[in-house]
Symmetry: C2
Subunit: 117 residues, 2 copies
DNA sequence: CAGTGGTATCGTCTATCGACGATAGACGAT
DNA sequence: ATCGTCTATCGTCGATAGACGATACCACTG
């Protein structure tokens, strides 16, 4: 029982229901859940690597991610989906094809939440 | 196939094989794995809450943790084991009974690794 | 020594993750 | 319209995580 987005929006700009947490206060009782969710999304070496790739190479990129990883395309797509659901990355709508880039505010909030511990 | 520590060391001071990563350089190729491991350990609301409890209440505490959480003692113990395995907390050997406290250096390394992304 | 309180581990169950191949959708090019 | 390329999703599998009760341990106390 995973993702249930209708087939008609394959490349939706942002996963709603994820990034709206990025503006919540840091000492909210839900801050624990937010921090845990962000940490969980980062809690896989491949996803850390993807984040680094996106952070290093001037943000946007596309399918080249798959080429640089020793994983099937569908697996990489799944990792991208998880990072996207956590609000840490988003699709770059302006690019020729689909391109991903870091969401700096999400990363910032992650760091802020972590610093609050 | 979980924990396989021999029954004879129930309260071992530190889980070896976890904290030795805390001194590695930040740009090591293994830094990804370290960051992912730390994030994974923090990637659960209960564990975030435990970390906060330990950070707030002047570090050391013991079984009171169980009293403040809506979970069975064995479950809390498991979460503590995970945090301990990640090197984020350690047992306070000096206390009358078992006491846990944050390992500030681990938290610092976590923050440093995250800032490196 | 028997009893007790605080912990860690075992064994088991369910839910979720991680990976893959197959396939569907979107879209530019032919 | 058909093809080829790029992605996202489906369906499935094995592995792992998360939770619990039961139980073993250990350090004391009586």
């Amino acid at each position: 029982m995973k993702r249930r987005r209708p087939r008609s929006a394959p490349c939706g700009p942002d996963d709603p229901g994820a990034a709206e947490a990025l503006a919540r206060p840091l000492d909210d009782p839900e801050a624990d859940a937010d921090l845990a969710a962000l940490a969980k999304a980062v809690g896989h070496p491949i996803r850390v690597r993807i984040l680094r790739m996106l952070a290093l190479k001037n943000a946007r990129m596309c399918c080249r991610i798959v080429d640089e990883l020793p994983l099937a395309q569908s697996t990489v797509s799944e990792h991208l989906r998880i990072l996207r659901a956590a609000g840490l990355i988003k699709v770059n709508e302006k690019g020729p094809r689909v391109g991903y880039c870091i969401v700096p505010s999400a990363l910032k909030r992650f760091k802020a939440l972590l610093n609050g511990v």
